[in-house]
Each structure stands twice: as structure tokens, then as C-alpha cells.
């Protein structure tokens, strides 16, 4: 209603001088005009405000799951308001969610998250991917890769918690991932910087012979909601610096496409007179788009044609090449972006140093593979398809086209890095002229409403810009990155909101219809362990709270409810191993408590009905208050107790 009334208002302004026009009323009309004048707002600004402003009590239509980059987390954002709804901590500790401060989440973060036995407490997250059923987001799970440490995390969207981290046993860094096959049978993670597989050592002069990439197909158990590492497998890849990747869908279900940018196999200077990787990897005019037939790969795995490396079954590069599990097609140099069209018939690849997007026709490539029509082999024996025979065409979009998303009308929206534009173009009709919209600045990834599904919604595109420069008050020199919401519903694109992202470098995001979420409001029954989804055997009922001492081991079975902990006084001896079993007796919406022990680096979040478990050694004697860290009630401050640690010999 606001937009039409605003338009009426503008219409009436234009007629204000005419004697027949009614005088603007003293209410909102006059107020709006004076605010516009005072704040220097144009009609377009006010329309943008009307399209994004979300009054109290109204909910957003879409939810973005944005990568928090080297913040190691996820930013959940409502669209169109661009309000931050939540951060989900994934690869790093975060006290509000009680993740990594003594509770059950420590196992995920510190144990499962170990790489090669090393504890790692940060991640560089790039590509969040929502679980899919039949090529549509189903709102159940979110997967996320950690480029720096080659790990994949599983976030349960029932409670927005990180439930699992799997460490890739083969590669030392990843990039293409985590993305899912259309029914979430696999979560795929592909390498970026090549290294000897399995964490082995080899000098750089052995780059070609010893260094390798890999595509890991993590089997996802949809019932358990966890990656099944036992039934996962991988394909060995040449050391070409595999980059972005996407899974085929509908007619191309069964394929995975990965681009790569180092067919030169540059390993930098190697301490010699060689060029840096930036030049060394940019010499060839063509790199290789990897075409992987994963359904065929599955049959090789089932037939046992694998070698186990560091605990995971791997199809060798030679077998992958011989069986056409892996084939190549050229792609213009330094490719970036690898995005399958909603109908699954084509894959669009951009290029950091090119001006074109290339549209590969998947049916043509399938045909070439089936007929065995190749132009040659690479050094590792992988068959190469003819570039011209594989493509539908190329489209000039500007300097440095990267990623492409789609709408429901047949348009593609490509981020163009060097030009700092979003380019709208018709991927089905390459003759149609493009439309470019300037964004601020250096756009990297781009996301669209349901844009990665078989049925995109259109409406909104978000430009994820690497630089904000002058867009916000200078809080630098480290400046936030910037998301720009773009309205794509009209004949021309319009930026309608700028949103700073001040916690890491956002890479990819996905935007899902908000009503696909089925988030819980409480763990039911009270005492549910969120990591097992069942009531903990250590959960207590009201009135059954107790402290059990067994030698130097003390188990405290505690209930948590407004506004008290039962028991509220715990007495132990210095050196005792203390386990606190906490049960929230709450079930009401938003009735969360916290539990922190002063000076013991302990803080957990007690959402309604949650079971938590904290184990620590009482190695410092003294009196330590513990208290509720979420303002739960009028008597929240009184929700406290004492941990008394009796000194030895006292």
C-alpha cells in the first residue's frame, strides 16, 4: 500500500500548483516531503526504502545464508530488510552460542575439527550450500567448506547449530565446495592448491609427479543428518588448481563440473628464477573445465577400483581418465564461476582475465564423450573435448566476469569484478543486449532468490562486494565488505539497500524462501541432547537433581529454570574432575538461559529444553560464582550460585 500512496503523493506534488489539486494534508504527506528535502532523498531512494523497510512485527520473505569468510561462520540475513538475523559459529569458538567454551559443541569444534591431529579454531569459509530435494532447497541442512584447512561442516537448520565437521584426509586446501548433488546424496568438496595427497611431503620440483588435487564425494546420511565418512570416496585430479564447481541437475544430474586455473602447473618461483604463481598460472590461453561423471565413478567405487589413501577410497587419476569419469574441455584462461543453468542443460563459466562468459552445452559434451570424439589428451591421459564443439556460444559481459545466477524469466546475472557491475543477460538468446548495473565495489560472488535451484524466484539479487570504500562511515583501515540488494523485478535493475558485512570476507551465499525453514523453538522433551536429538540419559527431572561423588570424579545433575540453578552450590576439592549435566526445564519460546563459571573459561547456552555437559578439572582453588548469562527474567541477576573449590590440604 505504501508504494501506490507514495506515487500518488508524487503525482499530487507535481500538480501542487494547479488550482484543482487538493492541498497536501498536514499528516504524512507533508512530513515525507520535508524529510526527503532534509535528508536529500530522491524519489528512487524513497521507493527503495519502501521496498526494503520492514516494520516491526513483519517478517522477511527470504533468508540469506552468507559465508562469513575467514570469520569462519555464517551470517543469516533477512531479505528484503537485510537485517542480520543470526551468526552461526562453525569453525571458530563463539561465546553467545556457547560454542567452544566447555559444552558439548567442544567435541565438534576441537575434536572433529582437528586436521592431521592439529587443533584448528578458525576457518576460511567460502561456499555455503543448502541441502536439496529434487533440485529444490528443502530447508533441512546447510553445508560449508573451510578453504584454509580443507574441512566441511554440517549445520542443522532445525536449530541453526553446527553438528559436524569432517576433515578432508586427502587435500591441504579446498575451494569447490561444499556443494550438493540434487538430492543431497553427496556433499562435494574439491581441492584448490595442489599438494601431495594425504598430507605427505614432496619438494616443489616434484609438483607434476607428486602434487595432486582431488574431488571428495562426502556421502550424506539424510536420516542421521551427518556425513557418513565410511561411505565417502574421492577422485584423484591433476594439480591444476581446481576452483569453483557445481553439480548437474535434471537432464545433467550425475555430472559435476569444476573449473581450474593452473594447467601450467606453476608452483611459483620455487626459489628459482621462475615467475610467481600469478604469472606462472596465467600463461596458457586455455585451462580445463573438468567434467566428472559421478554416477560412473560410483560404479567404480562399488567395483572396488579404488586405492585407500589416509582412510578414504580414491579412484586414481589414470582410472578416472581411462573410464571417462573425468574428461576435460578447454576454458578461457583464469576461469572463474561454474554455474549450471536452472534447466540443467548448460554450464556458464566466467573468466577473471577474459571479457566473456562461456556457455557450455552439456548435451553436446555428453555426445562427444559417448562417441569418443576428442582432440587429444593432457599430460595425465585425460581426454580433451573440442572447445568449439562443446559450447553454445560466448557472451561479452565486461572485464572479469565471475559468477552467474539465474532468475525465473531466463535471464542470467553475472558478477563482473573489474568493471564492478552486475550484468543481466539472456542466456538462451545471446543476441539480446546486456544490461549492466554499477555496484560498489569489486563484486565477487552474486546470489539470487532460490537462484541455484531448478526454479529460481527472480525478485532479488545480492551483489557481494569485496570493497566498500566510501559507502559507510570510515571505521578503517580495515573496512567492512558490502552486500548490495538489487531489485530485479522491474525492467531495469536497481540497488535498493547497502549492507556492511563486518566480520569476514563474504564469498558465496544462498537465498532461500523463508517459509522453507522448519526451525524448532525448544528441545522437546526437556533434556534433549542437540547432538543426538534424543533425551540424554543424564538429563534430570525436577526434584531429582543431585551431586554424585566418586573418588576424584564429581558429577552434578543440575536443572536450569527461571530463575535458579538446582543445586546452586557445588563444593569440590582442588584437582577433582567435575562434570556438570545441565537440563533446561524450559519449553517456552525464546526462554534461553546461559551458564557461565567465572574464571574457568566456561560458558554454555541453555536454549529451552537443551541438555548440556561441561567437564573440567577444578585446578584452581577458590570461590567461583556461576550465573546465567542470558537476561532471562526479572530475577536474572539472582540466577546464580557458587562453585567452591577447596584448596588441597585445607
Amino acid at each position: 500500500m505504501l508504494v501506490p500512496s507514495l506515487l500518488l503523493f508524487f503525482a499530487s506534488c507535481q500538480n501542487a500548483g494547479a488550482p484543482t489539486a487538493p492541498a497536501p494534508t498536514a499528516g504524512t504527506g507533508g512530513g515525507l516531503a520535508s524529510i526527503m528535502a532534509e535528508r536529500g532523498l530522491s524519489e528512487a531512494d524513497v521507493l527503495a526504502a519502501a521496498k526494503t523497510y520492514t516494520p516491526t512485527g513483519k517478517l522477511d520473505d527470504y533468508v540469506i545464508f552468507g559465508s562469513g569468510g575467514h570469520g569462519g561462520n555464517i551470517v543469516v540475513i533477512g531479505v528484503p530488510s537485510m537485517r542480520i538475523l543470526k551468526y552461526i559459529s562453525v569453525f571458530g569458538p563463539e561465546p553467545w552460542q556457547g560454542y567452544g567454551y566447555g559444552g558439548l559443541g567442544d567435541d565438534v569444534l576441537y575434536e572433529q575439527g582437528k586436521q592431521g591431529g592439529k587443533e584448528i579454531t578458525w576457518g576460511d569459509v567460502h561456499h555455503p550450500n543448502l541441502s536439496e530435494t529434487g533440485g529444490e532447497y528443502d530447508g533441512n541442512f546447510l553445508f560449508l567448506n573451510d578453504k584454509a584447512n580443507a574441512r566441511v561442516a554440517v549445520i542443522d537448520l532445525k536449530d541453526f547449530m553446527t553438528k559436524q565437521i569432517v576433515a578432508n584426509p586427502l587435500v591441504m586446501s579446498d575451494h569447490g565446495g561444499a556443494f550438493v548433488t540434487p538430492n543431497t546424496d553427496y556433499v562435494v568438496e574439491t581441492s584448490q592448491y595442489a599438494a601431495p595427497l594425504g598430507g605427505k611431503f614432496a619438494t616443489l620440483d616434484k609438483y607434476e609427479t607428486e602434487y595432486r588435487g582431488a574431488a571428495v564425494f562426502w556421502k550424506f546420511d539424510k536420516v542421521k543428518g551427518r556425513i557418513d565418512q565410511e561411505n565417502s570416496w574421492a577422485i584423484e585430479l591433476p594439480p591444476y588448481a581446481q576452483d569453483l564447481a557445481d553439480a548437474g541437475k535434471l537432464v545433467s544430474d550425475g555430472y559435476v563440473f569444476i573449473n581450474s586455473w593452473n594447467s601450467e602447473m606453476s608452483a611459483g618461483t620455487e626459489g628459482k628464477d621462475k615467475p610467481f604463481t600469478e604469472s606462472g598460472a596465467s600463461q596458457n590461453d586455455m585451462d580445463y573445465l573438468h567434467v566428472i561423471d559421478w554416477k560412473k565413478a560410483e560404479t567404480l567405487v562399488a567395483a572396488g577400483k579404488t586405492t585407500t589413501i589416509n582412510g578414504i577410497r580414491v579412484i586414481s587419476l589414470a582410472d578416472a581418465a581411462a573410464e571417462h569419469v573425468l574428461t576435460f574441455v578447454g576454458e578461457p584462461k583464469s576461469p572463474h564461476g561454474c554455474d549450471v543453468t536452472p534447466d540443467g542443460t548448460a554450464v556458464v563459466v566466467g573468466g577473471k582475465l577474459d571479457t566473456h562468459a562461456t556457455i557450455y552445452d552439456i548435451a553436446k559434451m555428453q555426445d562427444l564423450i559417448a562417441k569418443g570424439t576428442f582432440t587429444g589428451k593432457d599430460k595425465f591421459g585425460v581426454d580433451i573435448m573440442d572447445f568449439q564443439a562443446s559450447i553454445r556460444g560466448q557472451k561479452e559481459l565486461g572485464l572479469g566476469p565471475l559468477h552467474t545466477v539465474y532468475d525465473e524469466k531466463g535471464f542470467a546475472y553475472t558478477s563482473v569484478f573489474l568493471d564492478s557491475t552486475v550484468v543481466k543477460w539472456n542466456w538462451k538468446n545471446l543476441e539480446e543486449p546486456i544490461e549492466a548495473l554499477g555496484v560498489q565495489y569489486n563484486i565477487g560472488h552474486i546470489t539470487a532468490a532460490e537462484g541455484d535451484t531448478i526454479s529460481p524466484d527472480g525478485k532479488y539479487v545480492v551483489a557481494m562486494n569485496k570493497m566498500s570504500q566510501d559507502r559507510y562511515v570510515n571505521v578503517g583501515p580495515l573496512l567492512p565488505q558490502s552486500f548490495q540488494l538489487i531489485d530485479i523485478s522491474g525492467p531495469t535493475m536497481k540497488v535498493i539497500y547497502d549492507m556492511p558485512i563486518p566480520l569476514g570476507e563474504p564469498h558465496y551465499s544462498q537465498m532461500m524462501k523463508a517459509d522453507k525453514l522448519h526451525t524448532i523453538t525448544a528441545y522437546t522433551p526437556a533434556g534433549t541432547n542437540p547432538y543426538t536429538d534424543t533425551k540424554s540419559e543424564f538429563a534430570v527431572a525436577s526434584g531429582e537433581e543431585k551431586i554424585v561423588r566418586n573418588g576424584k570424579k564429581v558429577d552434578v545433575y543440575m536443572s536450569v529454570i527461571r530463575s535458579h540453578f538446582t543445586p546452586d552450590n557445588i563444593e569440590v576439592n582442588e584437582g577433582d574432575e567435575v562434570t556438570l549435566h545441565l537440563t533446561s526445564m524450559e519449553q517456552a519460546l525464546d526462554q534461553t538461559h546461559g551458564f557461565a563459571i567465572d574464571m574457568y573459561n566456561v560458558n554454555v547456552s541453555m536454549e529451552p529444553g537443551k541438555y548440556e555437559e561441561i567437564t573440567f578439572v577444578a585446578d584452581r582453588a577458590g570461590v567461583f560464582p556461576f550465573y546465567c548469562t542470558e537476561f532471562c527474567s526479572a530475577l536474572h541477576l539472582e540466577m546464580m550460585g557458587y562453585l567452591l573449590v577447596k584448596p588441597n590440604g585445607a
Binding site: 527461571r562 526445564m585 519449553q587 517456552a588 526462554q591 530475577l635
Partner: protein, 221 residues
């Protein structure tokens, strides 16, 4: 052949007797059926509960946001709702079952002078419920733990209509089970009236006292 006035009277009487039995059985079904349904609803509204909290009273216990209401109530020292009316809840199926059975049995057994007894027993159910609920509400508002964080003057919660406790606006109304029981009583009232009309013209009118000599349907003629 045209029926005589006496025959017409008999036909009317037999029909009426059947109506009395039908009404009574329906009334017993209403009373019995109400056991399965909620009898009273309390709703509580406060700023932090935009959707409100509700408490649904069944004869067997309370349902709805019981844990949450208990949690809030503990601040003013109210006893847990789970501790209220234990005896009544435990015996509710007997009370309702026997009431319904008594209504049916009395339909056949009660004589001219006790024709109203079934109705009065039926009435005892909703009436007893209201009195008992009022008692327990009184008790919960008066029997407060004096060590509670918030000290309130003992108060009488509103049992019907709108009320206010602290930041809560309350609203209490009978629910479908109560209305079904009341319907049962109304049916019994109609049955009692119809029975009185039948008994007035009954041939055994004069011998009839506390029990019906022919069990209402077993007419002597």
C-alpha cells in the same frame, strides 16, 4: 375403526415415555462424553507473550502451557498446577461414569415423586465442577509460599470473565465439555417435565411413589 379417546391417550403416553427415555439416554451420553473434552479455558496475556498462554482444564487434569504458567507462578509462590485437585482428577472417571449411569438407571427406576432426581444428579456435575474449580482457584491465590521472590496479597483469581494479575490480563470461560454437560442437564430438565406429564395420566399414578412400578416403559395396559 376410529381409535377411542382412551386408545389415543395410550398412544400419546407410550410415545412420551419413549421420548423421556431417549432424552435421558442422550443426557447421559452428554454427561459421559464431556469427560473426554476440555471444561474450562484460562488465557493469560502479557507483553512478552504476544500469543498469550492458555490453560485448558480437563476433568482429568490441566493441559496447555502448564509448565510455563507454573514457572511464572513460582515467582509469587503459587503451588504447581499439577498439585491441585488430585483426588477429583483421579476419581473423575468414576464421578462422571456413575453420574451418567445413575441418570440412565433413574430413568427407569424413579417413580412419580422422584422424577426430578436424575436431573439434580446431572446438575451436580457442572455445578460441582464450578464450585470445586472456584475452591482450587481460591486456594491457589491464597495458599502462597511466603518465601517466594514476589510477595502478593492473597487474591482470588478470576474464574469467569476478565481479570488481572501482575502484568497479566486473564480471561476465563467455560469450554465445550462444560457446555456439553450443561446440555445434558437441559435435556434432563426436559425429560423431567415430559415424565411429569406422563405420570399425571399414568394408570398406576396412585400406587406410584419413589419407584416406578412398571419401570416407565413396562406399561401395565
Amino acid at each position: 375403526m376410529k381409535p377411542t379417546p382412551v386408545q389415543l391417550m395410550r398412544t400419546w403416553e407410550v410415545k412420551r415415555r419413549r421420548v423421556v427415555v431417549a432424552l435421558s439416554v442422550m443426557a447421559a451420553a452428554c454427561l459421559g462424553g464431556s469427560w473426554f473434552l476440555p471444561w474450562w479455558t484460562f488465557r493469560l496475556f502479557a507483553p512478552q507473550y504476544p500469543k498469550g498462554l492458555s490453560l485448558v482444564i480437563h476433568l482429568t487434569g490441566v493441559q496447555g502451557d502448564v509448565a510455563e504458567i507454573d514457572t511464572i507462578n513460582h515467582y509469587i509462590g503459587m503451588h504447581s498446577l499439577a498439585d491441585s485437585a488430585l483426588l477429583e482428577r483421579a476419581a473423575s472417571h468414576w464421578i462422571v461414569g456413575l453420574t451418567a449411569a445413575a441418570v440412565v438407571v433413574l430413568t427407569f427406576l424413579a417413580g412419580r415423586k422422584l422424577g426430578w432426581l436424575g436431573m439434580v444428579i446431572g446438575l451436580g456435575l457442572p455445578l460441582g465442577f464450578v464450585i470445586d474449580t472456584t475452591y482450587w482457584m481460591y486456594k491457589s491465590g491464597h495458599d502462597l509460599d511466603d518465601r517466594a521472590p514476589i510477595t502478593l496479597k492473597p487474591f482470588m483469581p478470576t474464574v469467569i470473565g476478565d481479570g488481572k494479575v501482575g502484568q497479566f490480563l486473564t480471561e476465563a470461560w467455560p469450554a465445550v465439555g462444560f457446555w456439553l454437560a450443561v446440555t445434558g442437564v437441559v435435556l434432563l430438565a426436559i425429560a423431567t417435565w415430559q415424565r411429569a406429564r406422563v405420570c399425571r395420566v399414568c394408570p398406576t399414578h396412585d400406587e406410584c411413589g419413589t419407584t416406578c412400578p412398571h419401570r416407565l416403559l413396562g406399561h401395565p395396559s
